[in-house]
């Protein structure tokens, strides 16, 4: 007998049992939806009437692209842009807490971009202003993403026609995507609301709980004696593992998709490009199943596996910034999030929500997927020992 049919049968049986378990629906859908709503209500004033931010801008470039960035920042409602003379002053103002974030535009920025060499923008955020810092980071990242597109166009054209005038090509490329579009889009779309942030956070956080039953289920089957029945059935042993994994993947996909749709319809969360969201959802589900499966293989009982998976979900969720916008935190805290798949998912989802292009979520999606595949592969090897005592 092939692996596919019995794997589907086992997955179908697990899904029927899952649907009948009302606590599962609570954990996978209702709880994250409710929490996202409560958080967004609690922080509604911050996002709407109460949101104010001051950004220091050190413009050592003085070019038109630097001006466009400053204009972009200034176009955000309730944001005050405060010019400062240099990077040191920007750093000082941020560290002293006088501004929420500082943006340093280095000398030669405009020329570098237009020549296709690329350039660097520095965003320094205050530890006391997480949402405002996240907003600044998102806006600058989006701006840089647009400039990257221009730079790539320039570089490609130059390679094809070495004699071309790079600055003229850059101007042509820029005309294809007018810079005013950046400015216009930023004020309304690139800054995502706290509702969207917490909808994303809760979806990512609870995804790891939603899929946990699938891998824990193997230990439950062993404890209930039904694993012995499955093993005596005339099916390949790998079909059992495949069925469990498939059920977990489906539950993760369905519950996360439901959350995306529900938060969009019910609480007006804006997730961004649907294709990018779909890509990240798939990568996230694979990662959740892989990581959860791996930690479960270290457990001796289903209860222990559940506890391990919960610890990983909570620690990974906190580390990855599902509750707090840790992405804008300075130093190690802002970087350590990438150790967890939740951190990569938050990076991808918040990027999409802030208007980043589809290609900009590829790195987070691939990183998330890679974590899932690696953990899943190790878990698979270890789980085979569970079924083959």
């Amino acid at each position: 007998m092939s692996v596919i049919r019995p794997a589907f049968l086992i997955a179908r049986k697990d899904l029927v049992r899952r649907i009948r378990d009302r606590t599962a629906i609570l954990t996978a859908v209702l709880l994250p939806l409710g929490l996202a709503y409560i958080f967004s209500l609690t922080l509604a004033n911050v996002d709407d009437a109460g949101f104010e931010a001051t950004y220091a801008v050190a413009d050592a470039d003085g070019g038109h692209l630097a001006g466009a960035l400053t204009q972009t920042l200034g176009a955000i409602g309730s944001v005050t842009v405060e010019p400062v003379p240099d990077a040191a002053a920007a750093e000082r103002r941020t560290d002293d807490g006088d501004v929420d974030a500082a943006i340093v535009i280095p000398e030669g920025f405009t020329a570098g971009v237009e020549a296709g060499r690329g350039a660097e923008l520095i965003v320094r955020t205050s530890a006391d202003a997480s949402i405002a810092g996240l907003v600044a980071t998102s806006v600058v990242r989006s701006f840089a993403a647009r400039l990257d597109a221009v730079s790539v166009a320039v570089a490609a054209a130059s390679a094809a026609d070495p004699g071309a005038d790079a600055a003229a090509l850059a101007e042509r490329a820029r005309q294809l995507e007018p810079s005013t579009e950046v400015v216009e889009a930023t004020a309304e779309d690139r800054v995502f609301s706290s509702i969207t942030f917490f909808a994303i956070g809760m979806a990512v956080f609870f995804l790891f709980f939603a899929v946990e039953f699938g891998v824990r289920g193997l230990l439950e089957e062993r404890e209930d004696g039904t694993l012995a029945r499955l093993l005596v059935a005339p099916i390949p042993q790998v079909a059992i593992l495949a069925g469990k994994g498939l059920a977990a993947l489906l539950v993760g996909l369905v519950s996360t998709t439901l959350l995306v749709v529900a938060t969009t319809v019910l609480i007006d969360a804006r997730w961004g490009n649907p294709i990018g969201v779909g890509l990240l959802v798939v990568a996230g589900v694979v990662a959740a199943v892989g990581v959860t499966a791996l930690v479960s293989t270290f457990a001796r009982t289903a209860a222990q596996a559940g506890a391990y998976a919960s610890i990983v979900a909570v620690v990974g969720g906190l580390l990855g910034g599902t509750f707090f916008p840790i992405a804008s935190a300075p130093g190690l805290l802002g970087s350590i999030r990438f150790l967890s798949p939740q951190g990569w998912l938050m990076e991808g989802f918040t990027g999409l929500a802030s208007g980043e292009a589809l290609r900009d979520v590829l790195v987070p999606a691939v990183a998330t997927l890679a974590i899932g595949v690696i953990c899943g592969a190790v878990a698979w090897r270890r789980a085979r020992a569970v079924v083959a005592r």
């Binding site: 049986k13 004696g225 039904t226 012995a228 029945r229 005596v232 005339p234 099916i235 005592r389």
Partner: protein
């Protein structure tokens, strides 16, 4: 139900199960040592031993649930090592613990495991109905297993083992902790399965079940198969006699003398208004004894045959009782 020890058999058919030299150690503790036996179609083989004797370990190795240190297992002509899926298709397994999905109905449990055996459509419908009828659960087919009593869950546990119409049905202590009514239902379905031609491997620590169901019995203790054979062969192995109690009036001394001359009689003594006779195969020679007593002028008012049981055999072979509470 026919007496298993008196069932007639034709030419010895090819065994459905053939296992030999089974050995398993756990952390240097020998759980099973050199266990082997064969079971023919329609034969019920009992593994009789107390708790912890090593009954479940051979079953786990036969079903492929536990790796063996040594030994061979062939089911329906297929080695479980090299043709695992095909060999397992011939096995119906009833584990000692109740192994069901409590949140699925009886019918759903049966359909799921039936599907894993590749049974589908009308055939699956028919088999589900048949096994539910066999274990008398047709009326409760659409109730979730968690709503069943312990005895009903045991019966469903057995139905799952019967579902694929296996050539070899393996039951590991299927009546532990069940009420007498369910126990009778379980034993009845096992006997019917045997009558239908299934080879059955049945482990138990209940001597009565082994005597009632099994054509042959293997006495196992501390992982070693101490002896095997029919009940009569095992009893003969330890030199035990049947005891015949005859209540009679008349000249009992003459009756005793006449009885002693019957073939197979070891002793006959007058006791309490009757005769106590020790002999081999009391059932077989009962007519001769009755004729002898009658011929000596005795008026028989009652006859009781007491055959030595497997409990006595086990005690003789191992020096300990079959059950802790015995």
């Amino acid at each position: 139900m026919s007496d298993p020890s008196t069932r007639s058999r034709g030419p010895a058919p090819e065994p459905i199960l053939r296992c030999s030299g089974l050995r398993k150690t756990f952390d240097e503790r020998v759980a099973v040592a050199d266990v082997g036996f064969e079971i023919a179609p329609g034969e019920t083989y009992g593994l009789l031993g107390p708790n912890g004797a090593g009954k479940t370990t051979p079953i786990s190795m036969i079903c492929g649930l536990l790796a063996r240190d040594a030994g061979d297992v062939i089911v329906a002509g297929r080695a479980v090592d090299t043709h695992a899926v095909a060999a397992k298709a011939s096995i119906g397994y009833v584990p000692q613990e109740i192994a069901l999905y409590p949140d699925l109905t009886a019918e759903e449990n049966l359909r799921f495991f039936g599907s894993l055996h590749g049974i589908a459509g009308d055939e699956l419908d028919g088999r589900v109905s048949r096994v539910l009828e066999t274990v008398a659960l047709t009326d409760r087919a659409r109730d979730r297993a968690q709503e069943y009593s312990g005895g009903m869950q045991r019966r469903l546990n057995i139905a799952l083992g019967l579902l694929n119409d296996p050539a070899l049905l393996i039951l590991d202590e299927p009546t532990v902790g069940v009420d007498p009514q369910s126990r009778n239902a379980i034993l009845g379905s096992v006997a019917r399965s045997s009558d239908e031609g299934m080879a059955i491997l049945y482990t138990t620590h209940y001597m009565e079940e082994a005597e009632r169901l099994c054509d042959r019995v293997g006495i196992i203790d501390e992982g070693v198969l101490r002896a095997e054979g029919t009940r009569r062969e095992l009893v003969g192995l330890v030199g035990e006699h049947d005891r015949l109690r005859i209540d009679a009036d008349g000249d009992l001394e003459d009756a005793a003398d006449a009885t002693r001359r019957v073939a197979g009689v070891a002793s006959a003594a007058v006791a309490g208004g009757g005769l106590d006779v020790l002999m081999r195969d009391a059932r077989g020679a009962l007519a001769d004894v009755i004729r002898a007593v009658d011929g000596a002028g005795g008026a028989i008012t009652g006859v009781e045959v007491h055959e030595p049981n497997l409990e006595a055999v086990f005690l003789h072979l191992t020096g300990k009782a079959l059950r802790d509470e015995a």
